[in-house]
Each structure stands twice: as structure tokens, then as C-alpha cells.
């Protein structure tokens, strides 16, 4: 019996293949966007885990100095002499004009067994590893990428994170110009007769890191992606809901007949569930495959984004991971169940002998619209509350969700209200307005999807636009020098500076050191006291005479990220050297880490081993090209070692654009999904509306007029939806800029609006609505009269 009932239900799709395609497409698209995002996140997290596990960092404790500076060799030797099993590691980055490489220098003779090293094959040359010029073990991807110049020979090896090279500690010391170990790896099992290692040294013992700093830093980015994926999934489910609703409406009589012929309700519900499960399996599988393709296409962009925003190195390729494929299928089933639950309840409650009620599923009652409006108001209140008192990224996203869902739920009431304000003149106009009002419940789900997609688009593009505008202005302030030069070494840099000094207005050394502040990675810069900084550096807040105080070497500036994260204000003391007061806070967009600036003299006192080999040159702009040529020709600097301001800006802007490319792609995909949702709903209504249109046709309105009216109505509803999406999108942008960005990235941006972007989005919305309405409209215009007269013949 179940089999027969199932076959009977399934026969519907055989007769309506287009509807089946629409349902499967909606479900597949929803799954694709969700699982694509999950695939990207899974791949990135796996890369972080691999990086965190390099040399057993996820299993081994390490000893380091509290200020993050290299360890004195004497401390290391003392620990070894006392019998402790510790192994030195030198860690640092080599930056070249074309790329950078993280160098990890290890001492293979003392490395603990738990620090599983790279996989070595028969081609590994042990002698070359230990002797000059050394050997760098890198992954194939790293070897294929842009690398700094003058590196030792490379050996391709598995299990090494991207943009990282493992080498002997002596090679690392030479390449990085650093003799002392960055930290000491501590073997898990120490000799029993020794006291705990913390009693034998003043160094700080750090527990194994199961999660890397990068993984923590990028959490917000992945949460952002997940939120977008979820939004797309939600929009996709509108399609599924509409398609299942249509199928239910069309099969209402079939279900009644089946029941009249003695099929128990339970059997019908079971058959419906089985049918949906089969569809979910088919569409989910297609969706996961599509998701894989989308993720593979977006992966290079994501890698670029993560590199640009966080300095996180992941490979731009995607590996198939069964876990996200399974989770993708699982969410397809859950989504299908969520989209179908209303239909299942209606089927279960449908009385066997109730009179036929065409479009009953689509006609939400006035009470339902009122309830939705109340729910919308409650959600808006919740969003406001979260915006005012909520803390943390989750609260910020909850605020976004409340805002978006509230707007979607309030849409039917707002639309009905707007239509009730229209006072038409004439019988036909009255019918048009009344008929449009009657369409709203049926179209509301699709219009909600369109509203969400448009609002997300307005919100995200306003955020990106505001960011771009602020970022460009900020770049102008930060990149005031005419030329930027990278010398091969600090010695050559010093020589160059001496030679150039008479010919230029100023030479500003660029010198920095990595350190830990508040137990997180941070960077400290030393700057020369010069009008370049005093006049242009973008300070958000400052003490009086901040630059004078900085020049004395007894003060620091900190970036906005550090200030917000650690709740630091001007006048607070920060733990650098013996403690320095903060005299200013500056904006530092695009940098995920905390940063501080001190005077050059103070920097060189604190970090005597770090000498500048990069510098900025002030010169009259007209003379800059000639000087650049001279530097390359006379001093033999490689072309990329000398860059002008425009090049650096272009590079920074390229990184910026790359950063938001993924967001833009997801934005467009979501709008596309909303367009399909609208199409599905219009097709649904087109099939169900004949009984309403046929009488109007019969009393003297041509099919062409009715078709034109349908098109005009779709465009009008899209216009109304756009107008309502505008304030929602702007509110969304405000939340993104004021709450999400601050929580996720640590900086706050002024909001700017871009009305010309709205116009192009409006045109896009009209295009989507027009395309969606085109098919049903043409069908109506060409419908044979016999099909319309059939309505009267079959009227019950």
C-alpha cells in the first residue's frame, strides 16, 4: 500500500518535470552555497591545524621569554647542562620584493621524538642539510610560489605548511641574522631526577597549542562566511518551500482521493516523507558536488583574503573531505524537513471532506499577517537591545539575524498596508489593486527572499564601499613617502642611506620587531621624529603634544585594534620595555594584530639586534622616478626592491579588492537564488491563478492586457520590496560597521552611502523580477482560449 501511495505521489513529478527541476534546483543551490562555505572553512581550518602541528607544537610545551624576544644562548646551554631535554628553534620571516617565507630552524640532534618532522624520502641529502649553504624543506606549493631571492637550495617535502621552510638551525640563523633561539621545545618526558623545568629557569613555559593564533584570529572571518552561507541556504529554502507548497496544492485532490479510496493518513504522510527524502538525497548530492565546485573556484580568492587580512597561509586548493559532504547532505535533509513541515501539517489536518479551497496554502490569513507583524516588531526590539547592550561577535550576528528575520516577517504587513493606501479609480483599477493584495500572501515568501538578498546586498556593499572610501583616504595618509626601498641587508641599507642623504629631503627607516603583547602576537615599529608622521599619520585620538612625547622615547602609539581589544585609552601604561604611556591611537585597517609605535632611538635600544634594511624616502615627486632608476642602476637593487608610492597603493588596493572578492561572489549568488525563488513563486501562482483571471478575461479583458498586467505587477512588487530593503540594508550596514567589524577585526569605520550603487542594484532587482515574470507572462499571453474556458467547465 505504501509503495502504491508513493508511486501515485511520485507520478505528479513525472507530469510536472519543470516543477521537479525547480524544487531540486532550489534545494541543490541552497545546499551548494552552504556546503561550499563549509568546505572552504574546513579546508582553511585543516591548514591551520597542520600549521599548528608543525614540529609537534600541538603536543609539546615550549619555553620562551615573556616579552617574546629571542632567548639567550646561555639560558639554553644551562638547561641542557642541567640535563633537561630541550631543543632550540629559530623562527622568523624573510621578506623579499616578490614574496615572503617563514623560516623554521631546528636542531635535529636535540629535537624531541614527539616533534614529528617532515616526511623524508630517499632523495633527502643529509649532508647538504647540515652544511653550507644548507637545504630548505618546503612543500611543492611553496616551491612553485613567489619566494624571496638568494635562498639555499629547496627540497620538496610533504607535511610542511604553505609559505614555510624547515631547515637546520645554523642555516636559519644565517638567513634571519639571528643567533639566539626564538624558543625552546620541551620534550614531554624529562629525566625523573630533575625538578620541574619552571624551577630551573626564568623563561616562561607555554602549554602546547591545540589551536594556533591564526585559527583564533580567523575565527571571525569563518563565522562571517558561515553567516553568508546560512543566509544563502535560507534564501534557497524559500524556493524549496514554494515548490513543495505548489506540489501540495496541486496534489490536494489526489491526496483526498487516496484517502477516500482507503489510504490511511499515516501512510500518506509516510509516503510524502519518503518522497521528500528521495528528492533531498538527489538534490543534496548535486548540491554537495556543486558546492565543491563553488568552493574550488572561490578557494584561491579565500586564500588571498586570508593572506591579505590575517597573514594566514593556506593553499589555494581544495581537498575533498567526507565530513563536510556528509554535513552538507544532513543539512539538506534538515532544510527539506523545515521547508516541508508546514505542508505536512496541512496535509495531516486536511479534512477528508472539506470543500476544495484553491490557493488555500498560499492565502495566509489576516491573522497570520498580523502575528508575523508582531513577531517582526519583537525581533526589531531584540535587535535594538542587542545593538545597545550586546557584547561579542555572536551578539552582533544575533542582532543581524533579528534585524533580517524581523524585516522579512514584517514585509507582508508593510506591503498590504502600502497597497491599502492606494485609492484606485474605476472598476478595473479596483480589481487590479484588490487582486495584487490577494497575491501578496502567495508571493510573500519569494518577496521575503528577495528582500533578504537585496538588504544583504545593500548592507554588504555599503560596508565594503565605506571601507574602500576610508581605506583609500587612510592609504593617502599612511603612504606619504615618494619611494620605498628594501636593501638586501641592514649593512647595505646603512651604506645606501649615507650615500643618498645629501640628495633627498629625508630618509625614514622602517624597522619593526615581532613580540607578544597581552599574550597575543604583536608588532612594534620604531619611527624617526619627522613632519611626515606628525602631519599625516592618522590618529583617532591623541594626548596633547603626542608626537613630542613620542620623540623623547618615553611614550608609544598603539593601533585601534589593540586599543579596542584590550580596552586601552590614551594615558594608559602598556607593558613595553619598563612600561610606556600611550599618547595616541591610530587607525590601522587591514591589520589583524596589535601594533605599537615607539621612537626609533627607543626601538634600537630595546632591540639592538634588529637593524633597518627598509626605508622610505622623501623627495620632490618629480625627482622620484630618476632616483628609483639610479638606485636600480648604480646600486644594483633588483627592480622590485624599489617601489614608488603609486605601486604600493596599487598593491594595497589589490589586496583590499581581493579581500572582498569572496563576499561579492556570495552576494551575487544569493541574489541569483532569490531571483529563482521569485520565479518559482510566480510559476506557482500562474498555475493557480487561472480561476481568478478567467472571469476577467471572459468579461472583456484581452490576454495581452492580463499578461502585461502580470508583468507590471511583478515589477511593482519588486520596486516596493526594494524600497523596503533599502532601510533594512542600511541598518544592516550600520550593524556590520559598528558591531561586527569592531568585534571581528578590531576597527570601526565611518558609514558612507552610495546611492548610485542602489540604482544599479534596483535595476538588477527589476531585471530579476522581469525575467522571473517573463515565462508566466508569455504563457498567459499565448494561452489558448480553450484552456481558460476549461476553468468554467471544471469549476466546483
Amino acid at each position: 500500500m505504501l509503495y502504491t501511495a508513493l508511486l501515485t505521489l511520485l507520478s505528479h513529478w513525472k507530469r510536472h518535470p519543470g516543477q521537479f527541476v525547480m524544487l531540486a534546483l532550489g534545494l541543490a543551490l541552497a545546499t551548494a552555497l552552504w556546503s561550499g562555505v563549509q568546505a572552504i572553512n574546513a579546508e582553511a581550518r585543516a591548514a591551520y591545524d597542520r600549521a599548528a602541528a608543525t614540529l609537534g607544537q600541538d603536543q609539546l610545551s615550549r619555553l620562551e621569554r615573556a616579552d617574546g624576544q629571542p632567548i639567550d644562548l646561555a639560558d639554553y646551554i644551562a638547561l641542557r647542562a642541567a640535563g633537561y631535554l630541550v631543543s632550540p628553534v629559530i623562527l622568523g620571516d624573510i621578506r623579499g620584493p616578490d614574496g615572503h617565507l617563514r623560516i623554521l630552524g631546528v636542531d635535529p640532534l636535540t629535537t624531541p621524538a614527539e616533534a614529528q618532522g617532515p616526511t623524508l624520502d630517499g632523495t633527502f641529502n643529509l649532508a647538504a642539510f647540515f652544511t653550507h649553504p644548507g637545504l630548505l624543506l618546503v612543500s611543492q606549493d611553496t616551491a612553485n610560489g613567489a619566494l624571496p631571492n638568494d635562498l639555499p637550495p629547496l627540497q620538496i617535502t610533504d607535511n610542511i605548511p604553505p609559505a614555510t621552510a624547515i631547515t637546520d638551525i645554523s642555516t636559519a640563523a644565517r638567513l634571519l641574522g639571528q643567533e639566539n633561539p626564538s624558543y625552546l621545545l620541551v620534550a614531554a618526558n624529562q629525566p625523573h631526577n630533575l625538578p620541574p623545568i619552571t624551577q630551573a629557569t626564568t623563561l616562561t613555559l607555554r602549554a602546547p597549542q591545540s589551536t594556533s593564533d591564526i585559527a583564533r584570529l580567523t575565527d571571525s572571518f569563518h563565522l562571517n562566511l558561515s553567516a553568508f552561507g546560512f543566509l544563502s541556504f535560507g534564501v534557497g529554502l524559500f524556493i524549496v518551500h514554494a515548490a513543495i507548497g505548489l506540489a501540495f496544492e496541486q496534489r490536494r485532490a489526489m491526496v483526498r482521493t487516496l484517502r477516500a479510496l482507503g489510504t490511511p493518513l499515516r501512510t500518506i504522510l509516510m509516503a510524502l516523507s519518503l518522497e521528500l527524502a528521495v528528492i533531498a538525497l538527489i538534490a543534496g548530492t548535486i548540491g554537495v558536488a556543486l558546492g565543491y565546485l563553488i568552493a574550488a573556484a572561490l578557494m584561491p580568492g579565500v586564500a588571498g583574503t586570508l593572506r591579505g587580512l590575517y597573514g594566514a597561509e593556506i593553499e589555494g586548493i581544495l581537498r575533498f573531505n567526507p565530513s563536510w559532504a556528509i554535513s552538507g547532505l544532513l543539512i539538506t535533509f534538515l532544510g527539506t524537513a523545515a521547508a516541508a513541515i508546514q505542508v505536512m501539517i496541512r496535509t495531516a489536518r486536511m479534512p477528508l471532506l472539506a470543500p476544495a479551497m484553491p490557493r488555500a496554502w498560499a492565502q495566509a490569513s489576516g491573522r497570520m499577517i498580523r502575528l508575523q507583524a508582531y513577531a517582526a516588531l519583537a525581533l526589531f526590539a531584540l535587535a535594538a537591545l542587542l545593538a545597545l547592550v550586546g557584547q561579542g561577535l555572536i551578539a552582533a550576528f544575533a542582532c543581524l539575524a533579528a534585524l533580517l528575520i524581523g524585516a522579512a516577517l514584517g514585509l507582508p504587513a508593510l506591503m498590504t498596508g502600502a497597497l491599502s493606501l492606494i485609492r484606485p479609480k474605476g472598476a478595473f483599477a479596483e480589481w487590479v489593486v484588490a487582486d495584487t493584495r490577494q497575491q501578496i500572501p502567495g508571493l510573500s515568501l519569494a518577496l521575503m527572499a528577495l528582500l533578504l538578498a537585496l538588504a544583504a546586498n545593500i548592507g554588504v556593499s555599503t560596508m565594503v564601499g565605506s571601507f574602500r572610501h576610508t581605506f583609500l583616504g587612510w592609504l593617502d595618509q599612511r603612504l606619504t613617502s615618494e619611494l620605498y626601498v628594501t636593501a638586501p641587508s641592514s649593512a647595505e641599507a646603512a651604506a645606501l642611506m649615507q650615500i643618498l642623504a645629501p640628495d633627498v629631503d629625508a630618509i625614514l627607516p622602517i624597522v619593526s620587531a615581532e613580540m607578544r603583547l597581552f599574550d597575543r602576537p604583536a608588532e612594534i615599529f620604531g619611527v624617526l621624529d619627522h613632519p611626515t608622521y606628525r602631519q599625516a599619520w592618522p590618529l583617532l585620538s591623541a594626548a596633547p603634544n603626542a608626537w613630542d612625547q613620542l620623540a623623547t622615547g618615553d611614550a608609544v602609539l598603539v593601533n585601534e585594534q589593540l586599543s579596542r581589544r584590550e580596552n586601552l585609552r590614551v594615558g594608559d601604561i602598556i607593558d613595553i620595555a619598563d612600561g610606556l604611556p600611550i599618547v595616541g591611537i591610530y587607525s590601522d585597517y587591514g591589520n589583524p594584530n596589535g601594533q605599537a609605535i615607539t621612537s626609533l632611538s627607543h626601538f634600537l635600544e630595546t632591540f639592538p639586534n634588529i637593524l633597518p634594511h627598509r626605508f622610505a624616502i622623501r623627495i620632490t615627486p618629480e625627482e622620484a622616478p630618476a632616483l628609483a632608476t639610479r638606485l636600480r642602476d648604480e646600486f644594483g637593487l633588483p627592480p622590485n626592491a624599489v617601489t614608488n608610492q603609486a605601486q604600493v597603493k596599487a598593491f594595497s588596493i589589490a589586496v583590499f579588492e581581493q579581500t572582498f572578492r569572496v563576499t561579492g561572489a556570495l552576494n551575487i549568488l544569493t541574489l541569483g537564488v532569490a531571483g529563482i525563488a521569485l520565479l518559482t513563486s510566480l510559476l506557482t501562482l500562474a498555475n493557480l491563478r487561472l480561476p481568478q483571471l478567467a472571469p476577467i478575461w471572459a468579461i472583456g479583458t484581452s490576454r495581452a492586457t492580463l499578461a502585461g498586467l502580470e508583468m507590471a505587477r511583478s515589477l511593482a512588487l519588486a520596486t516596493l520590496t526594494f524600497l523596503l530593503a533599502l532601510p533594512v540594508g542600511l541598518a544592516l550596514a550600520w550593524v556590520l560597521l559598528t558591531l561586527v567589524n569592531v568585534e571581528a577585526f578590531g576597527w570601526r569605520l565611518p558609514m558612507r552611502v552610495f546611492p548610485t550603487d542602489w540604482l544599479s542594484l534596483f535595476a538588477l532587482a527589476l531585471l530579476a523580477a522581469g525575467l522571473a515574470a517573463l515565462g508566466p507572462t508569455l504563457r498567459l499571453a499565448r494561452m489558448p482560449p480553450a484552456r481558460l474556458t476549461q476553468v468554467f467547465a471544471q469549476e466546483r
Binding site: 500500500m1 502504491t4 501511495a5 501515485t8 505528479h12 489526489m254 477516500a260 479510496l261 482507503g262 493518513l265
Partner: protein, 222 residues
């Protein structure tokens, strides 16, 4: 004398309305024997269709008994009444109520399959008797009203039910087609030995059945 096939005992049924409860059936008692054909007539709103629905277990009375082959089906739950309909009742509606996505052959076999009593030979014989053999692969929308009603009759008879309930089966057909459809229905009912309860407005059609009962204001005038 053997027990009647269908024994309706003091049936009462009301429906709620905006102006209060409307009593549709007020103490109706009626019997139908196997092989007997009974026409149920009455003006619109007299309760004919309601009585038919109660007889087939599609609905339940407020009070009274609906005894089918010795079993009171009015007291059964939804699943049990579904089983009764599947196994023992054949339904023919004025609107035909065919499944539009199944072809004629599948529509005819539908109830028999649901009941687990599908007999391909018998179904083929029914189709042949009803002049449907050449149309088995067509879909309902490709058939005329008379053809659709013949499919509905075949579907109702295919599981060999004890009771056939027909609600204005010729109401949507012209007089000539309606006559021929009724002739076929009566012939087949007679051959299968089932009981037929047929609701009609037409006294002319009612005269062709073996017995006639008239409902007026919820009460029976035999």
C-alpha cells in the same frame, strides 16, 4: 433472511455554521441488501451526500449506527475506517476524482493495488466492458467527461467491493452519455453482486434502480 449489507440506524448529523448548528440528518434509518440498487433522491441540501459519506466511512455521525456487513463502522477510528473503504467500498464521485498524473490503466488499478487485490485479468475485463481498452495509456485530461466517469467506475469496481457508493455519477454528463454510463454501472454491479447506493437528482434515473428513497429536511420518505 440474511443480514442487510448496509444497515443505517437512527443516524443524526449536524454541521456547525455561522448561524448555529444545522441538523442535516435527523434520525435516518435505511437498509440495503447485497445485489440491491437503491436510488437516494432529494432536493439540494437535504443530506443525500452526507448520508452517502457516512455510509462509506468518509465521515462519522453524531449518533446512530452505520453497520456494514455486520460491523458498526461509525465507531471505528480513522485508520480502521480507511481499511473498510479500501477493502469493502467502491466510491464514484460526480467530479470523477481521478489522479491526473496517473494514466487510465494506473487509475483503474489504483484502489485494487491499495487494497492488495489487484487482478490484472479482471481489470482488463472491466476496461474492455467499459470501452476503455484503447485508452489505458492516456491521462485523464485527455478524456471526455463520460470517459473519465467510466474510468472512475472501473476503479471503484476493480477491488470487487461489497458496496458501491455513487454520488451524482452522471451529474456532469449529458443525458445520452449519462444513460449509457448508468447502464454499464448497473450491469457490472449486477454481475458482481455488490450493493449500490446512488445519489441522484433525476427521478428518471432513479426509476431505473430497484428501490428508491427520498430525503427531505434530514428525514427519509420511503
Amino acid at each position: 433472511m440474511s443480514d442487510p449489507l448496509l444497515d443505517l440506524r437512527d443516524i443524526r448529523k449536524t454541521f456547525p455554521s455561522d448561524t448555529g448548528a444545522v441538523r442535516v440528518l435527523d434520525g435516518v434509518s435505511l437498509q440495503l441488501n447485497a445485489g440491491e440498487t437503491l436510488a437516494l433522491t432529494g432536493e439540494s441540501g437535504s443530506g443525500k451526500s452526507t448520508l452517502l459519506h457516512l455510509s462509506g466511512g468518509l465521515d462519522q455521525p453524531d449518533s446512530g449506527q452505520v453497520v456494514l456487513e455486520g460491523q458498526d463502522i461509525a465507531t471505528l477510528d480513522d485508520s480502521a475506517r480507511a481499511l473498510v473503504r479500501r477493502q469493502r467500498v467502491g466510491l464514484i464521485f460526480q467530479q470523477f476524482n481521478l489522479v491526473p498524473s496517473l494514466n487510465v490503466g494506473a487509475n483503474i488499478a489504483l484502489q485494487a493495488r491499495l487494497a492488495g487485490r489487484h487482478d490484472a485479468d479482471f481489470t482488463a475485463t472491466l476496461a474492455a466492458r467499459l470501452g476503455l481498452s484503447d485508452m489505458l495509456t492516456r491521462y485523464p485530461e485527455q478524456l471526455s467527461g463520460g470517459q473519465q466517469q467510466r474510468v472512475a467506475i472501473a476503479r471503484a469496481l476493480a477491488p470487487r467491493p461489497a458496496l458501491i457508493l455513487a454520488d451524482e455519477p452522471t451529474g456532469n454528463l449529458d443525458e445520452e452519455t449519462g444513460d449509457s454510463v448508468l447502464t454499464l454501472l448497473l450491469d457490472l454491479v449486477s454481475e458482481t453482486g455488490a450493493g449500490l447506493l446512488l445519489v441522484t437528482h433525476s427521478p428518471r434515473l432513479a426509476d431505473r434502480l430497484s428501490r428508491r428513497a427520498h430525503l427531505s429536511r434530514g428525514q427519509l420518505e420511503v
